[in-house]
Symmetry: C2
Subunit: 75 residues, 2 copies
DNA sequence: ATGTGACTGTGAGTCCGTT
DNA sequence: AAACGGACTCACAGTCACA
C-alpha cells in the first residue's frame, strides 16, 4: 500500500470519528473540498505543510496521526 | 517552529545517531545531496513520498519518526 | 455529499557549481 | 563535510465544471 493511500485511509478514518463531511473538513483545513477527495483516495502526494493543516483540522497532531498500525510496518 | 524546521531537525538528529553524512543519507534515500541540506535547514517543503524515502534511509518508520516531543505540541 | 479530469501558477526536486 | 546559488524540469497546490 502506497504512503499516499495509507495517509488517505487514516484521514478518512479520523474524519469519520469526527462525523465530518469532506466539505466540513476542507473548510476547517482551508483547502478545496475536491482536494480532500484526492487525498483520501490516495491520488494526491501531499506536502507536509498541507498535511499539517488537515491533521490540525482533525484536531490531532503528527505524533497521534502516525501512531497507527498502518505506519509501523516499515523499517 | 514551522513543520519544515521540526522535520529538518528530526532528520538531522536521526542522521547523527546513524553517523551518516548528508551525502550518504542522500544516496540511501535516492535524493539529491543538496536537497537534504534544504530539508534539514527547513527550507524545503517535502512531499510524503520523498519523506518516506528519507525515513526508510534512516532505518526508521513514520510512527517512530513522528513519535517525538516536537510533534506533540499541536492540537 | 463524494469523485473525476483538466487546467494554471508555483514550488518540489535535480544538476551544475562555489564557499 | 555542510551550506548556498542559479537554472532547469516536472509535479504539487489550488480551483472548476461536471458527473
Amino acid at each position: 500500500m502506497s504512503i499516499n493511500k495509507r495517509i488517505g485511509n487514516r484521514i478518512l478514518a479520523l474524519r469519520k470519528t469526527q462525523n465530518l463531511s469532506q466539505e466540513a473538513l476542507a473548510h476547517k483545513a482551508n483547502v478545496d473540498r475536491t482536494y480532500i477527495t484526492g487525498v483520501e483516495t490516495g491520488k494526491r502526494n501531499v506536502t507536509v505543510r498541507v498535511l499539517e493543516r488537515i491533521i490540525l483540522a482533525l484536531e490531532s497532531n503528527f505524533a497521534t496521526f502516525f501512531n497507527d498500525k498502518a505506519f509501523q510496518d516499515e523499517k
